[in-house]
């Protein structure tokens, strides 16, 4: 395959919008619009890509942005996962003793988690109960084990959420 290079391609009338086999040559100064085309993410590099990502996330300032790598919202009483991302399953090891299994593993076990739980019991009043992580050995690249409590006692709760950052 040959490559032809030129500063401008002129059409029959002398304009520089000529096409070759239907394609506009690369390198003209005219602004072009992408329609029904996509750019591979790997082609977006440097400050342009970073700026567009932070804009899309509504992030202002120069502080770096670190993404959530996994999250889940589930009912520990009925055992129903309402919604999740990068979570394959939740294992109820015992009452209020839960393991969150990641679909795709973290790069290591040194991530941070935010875990919360709430239980409305029979009074329909929300009692926020912070979920607590178990011992450090229960954080692995592929899962994290947490405990949910009500009134200081380990219990299944109607809303439990876990978010993982790395």
């Amino acid at each position: 395959m040959s490559t032809i290079k030129a500063n401008a391609y002129l059409d029959a009338a002398g304009g520089n919008t000529a096409t070759i086999n239907g394609a506009t040559p690369v390198g003209t100064d005219t602004v072009q619009t992408l329609t029904n085309k996509s750019i591979d993410a790997g082609q977006l590099t440097g400050d342009v890509a970073a700026a567009r990502i932070t804009t899309a996330l509504n992030a202002t300032g120069s502080a770096p942005v670190y993404a959530c790598r996994a999250w889940v919202n589930f009912n520990g009483v009925t055992g129903v996962i309402r919604a999740s991302g990068n979570v394959s399953s939740v294992t109820r090891n015992a009452t209020g003793d839960l393991t969150i299994n990641f679909t795709t593993a973290m790069p290591d076990a040194n991530y941070a988690i935010v875990a919360t739980s709430a239980d409305n019991g029979t009074t329909n009043i929300w009692n926020n109960q912070a979920a607590t992580s178990s011992s450090a050995g229960y954080m692995t690249a592929s899962s994290v084990r947490i405990a949910t409590t009500v009134g200081g006692t380990q219990a299944n709760t109607t809303i439990a959420t876990v978010t993982v950052f790395r």
Binding site: I81, R92, T103
Partner: protein
């Protein structure tokens, strides 16, 4: 998924694995990945899970659907 995976903890109690909907894995893949290595498991209907799981008793001979195999379906980051 209206199915669950059960296996026995080391102390004999039953662990209940609740699959995440739309996670891209089949129930069998989740079982092999999320059940601890070497532990036999059973895939059951969610409706068969008793309300009182703390006193749930399962015969070892009923855990016949496979054995946990150390996360073969986890996609490792590089």
């Amino acid at each position: 998924m209206d199915q669950r995976i059960i296996y026995k903890n080391d102390d004999g109690t039953i662990a209940l694995v609740i699959p995440a909907p739309d996670c891209g894995l089949t129930i069998e893949q989740i079982a092999l990945k999320d059940v601890p290595a070497g532990k036999p498991f059973k895939i059951i209907n969610a409706s068969d899970v008793p309300e009182d799981t703390a006193s749930w008793v399962i015969d070892d001979a009923d855990l016949t659907d496979g054995v946990g195999s150390n996360n073969p379906f986890v996609l490792q980051e590089v």
